[in-house]
């Protein structure tokens, strides 16, 4: 029988911050998105205050600070390092691991007899080695492991570990039967609403549905969910993440941008980052999409949300081609008189490198070999000496539009100058 565990860090970003700053203990803590815009993570105390996810921070700032809350900019270097530590520790428990996101992973745990005990060992080890609290859910399918994790996290009495393995039908229903279907992995808001209309509200009801009917009325995906809720494993571990179908690079600007030259620098820089990612997964792009946005939270300012896709004759991963196309697209959609808040670049129609494509009789011939060598050299230099060491001139030198991250904590684990200070006083 298959056995899956889903290990999930509690309030991951907020917990990372707390490991290295004892002053944050017990205080409501929120972590803000790029540019300090929206709340992307909350400590238990902040959740208890009723602060919803994704709220624009300026809307809650006054009240939150009055209540003694602390807001921090997202410190992705720290979170990525802590995530690597956690995933590396978890890899020691099973040869089969699927890193599902920065703060959760699936493990295959076939062959263990005391699964709750293993769950507790996992939890204690991660806690002791990293200071991060985790919850463990264990079940015969990934969907049930996810649901068990929900129980471990939300229901008291489980001590952060919930195993559904070996439970009789009635015991299983007592644990998960009454959970609302919205909590089930893969059941989104729209599907929930439609199921509710059919009178299906709980996990027990969804499990009892006829899979054939579900397939007909919804999709094969939801049919699989029903089977997985019944303990039939349909989803295997994805041990290697599939290559991305699109690559996006988008940020908000630190201050509104009005001029084309500044936008050109930003777009060129985002495109370069995206191109690097593209080459890393050994793909080429068939087109590039450029999008601009004004600030929708300032309704009295004129609004403009243009976007354009520039297709390539020859799919490419050369930063110079991609930047050229991005700038051409940008010039087509740029209008004066707007305060631009955000730019987004997306590489689309990705294909593996070296896939044959139909040539264009009228297009200029390519020099793929020089291009590949140059790009390789560029990636090596940037990896070695820091991002942006070598860049196309269009990216500019000053980069005034860079993100605002005024409340960022030190990079405690990845920069020598930022290490914690141990007082000997």
């Amino acid at each position: 029988m298959t056995v899956f565990a889903l290990v999930d860090c509690n309030n991951f970003y907020a917990s990372c911050e707390r490991v290295f700053n004892p002053k944050l203990a017990g205080k409501p803590l929120v972590v803000l998105s790029n540019n300090d815009g929206a709340v992307v993570a909350r400590s238990a105390e902040a959740k208890a205050m009723g602060i919803p996810m994704a709220t624009p921070y300026f809307k809650i700032e006054r009240e939150f600070l009055k209540a003694g809350g602390v807001a921090l900019s997202s410190n992705y270097a720290l979170y990525a390092d802590m995530s690597n530590r956690v995933m590396s520790i978890l890899a020691g428990f099973s040869p089969n691991q699927e890193v599902y996101s920065i703060d959760e992973c699936f493990l295959g745990l076939e062959g263990f007899s005391d699964l709750t005990g293993i769950g507790q060992t996992i939890r204690e080890k991660v806690r002791s080695w990293t200071g991060l609290p985790v919850c463990v859910g264990i079940g015969p399918s990934k969907t049930l492991a996810k649901l068990a994790n929900h129980v471990a996290k939300k229901k008291p009495g489980w001590n952060s570990v919930c195993s559904l393995i070996g439970l009789a039908e009635s015991e299983l229903l007592a644990v998960i039967g009454k959970i609302e279907i919205g909590e089930v992995w893969g059941v989104g808001r729209r599907i929930s609403a439609r199921l509710n209309e059919m009178g299906v509200h709980t996990v027990a009801q969804l499990r009892a549905m006829d899979p054939k009917l579900i397939k007909r009325e919804f999709s094969v995906v939801l049919e699989r969910t029903v089977m997985e809720l019944r303990g039939v494993s349909c989803l295997a571990l994805d041990e290697v993440a599939p290559p991305k179908q699109q690559i996006m690079s988008s940020r908000s600007f630190g201050q509104p941008v009005f001029d084309l030259p500044e936008l050109e620098e930003a777009v060129a820089s985002y495109t370069s980052r995206a191109a690097e990612k593209l080459r890393k997964q050994r793909h080429v792009a068939g087109g590039i999409l450029i999008q601009l946005q004004t600030n929708p939270f300032k309704p009295d300012e004129p609004q403009y949300f243009p976007s354009i896709t520039v297709p390539f004759v020859h799919p490419t991963s050369d930063t110079r081609d991609l930047v050229n196309a991005a700038i051409r697209g940008l010039k087509r959609i740029f209008r004066e008189g707007y305060a631009y808040k955000k730019a987004c670049v997306m590489l689309v129609e990705l294909k593996p490198e070296g896939t044959a494509h139909q040539g264009d009789l009228f297009a200029a011939p390519l020099k793929p070999i020089q291009s590949a060598k140059l790009m390789q050299a560029m990636d090596t230099l940037n990896a070695r000496f820091g991002r942006g060491t070598v860049r196309v001139a269009a990216e500019g030198i000053e980069q005034d539009w860079k993100m605002k991250r005024g409340r960022m904590s030190p990079r405690y684990t990845t920069e020598w100058q930022h290490l914690i200070r141990a007082k000997a006083i």
């Binding site: 080695w129 020598w416 100058q417 290490l419 007082k423 000997a424």
Partner: protein, 155 residues
């Protein structure tokens, strides 16, 4: 602009693996003594290179900290020293530990129900529910920069 700090400035490390967040010092090890004039080239005897990261037993649990202050000087820990901390090992009496006290990290020696300083001008800190002392990790190595200290004395 480089940040001004009293600590040695090192290259920023952009890779995030914990084992790589350490100075890479590789020294060749020779399998035999080499005599002058011996025909065989020395490189043939290079077996592997030593790396200070070999001293890290639990890379996922290893963290670093800078020392600020002189309260641990009798134990050989000085202002500006670099501490290597292992969070995975349980603290025992007599260990040098990093503890959370009053919202700060402090480095002290763990005694029976008390944190001890290595300097007679500092009083021990009792560990009890009132002081809220928490042990964060165990210090397993200290890196002390001899040259930097000398320069500082000159100043």
């Amino acid at each position: 602009m480089q940040q001004q700090t009293p600590y040695p400035s090192l290259h920023p490390v952009s890779v995030l693996r914990p084992e790589q967040v350490a100075a890479r010092l590789e020294l060749p090890v020779f399998a035999t003594a080499i005599r002058a004039g011996f025909p065989s080239p020395a490189e043939d005897y290079i077996e592997h290179r030593l790396d200070l990261n070999d001293l890290v037993k639990h890379k996922e649990a290893t963290y670093y900290a800078w020392v600020e202050g002189d309260s641990m000087q009798d134990f050989g820990i000085h202002d500006g020293d670099l501490l290597m901390i292992d969070k995975s090992v349980p603290a025992e009496i007599g260990d040098i530990v990093i503890a959370e006290v009053d919202g700060f990290f402090t480095v002290k020696k763990l005694g029976h129900g008390v944190l001890l300083a290595g300097n007679s001008s500092y009083r021990p800190i009792p560990i009890n529910p009132d002081t809220g002392v928490l042990i964060w990790g165990v210090v397993i190595r200290v890196i002390h920069d001899m040259r930097q200290r000398k320069q500082r004395r000159k100043l």
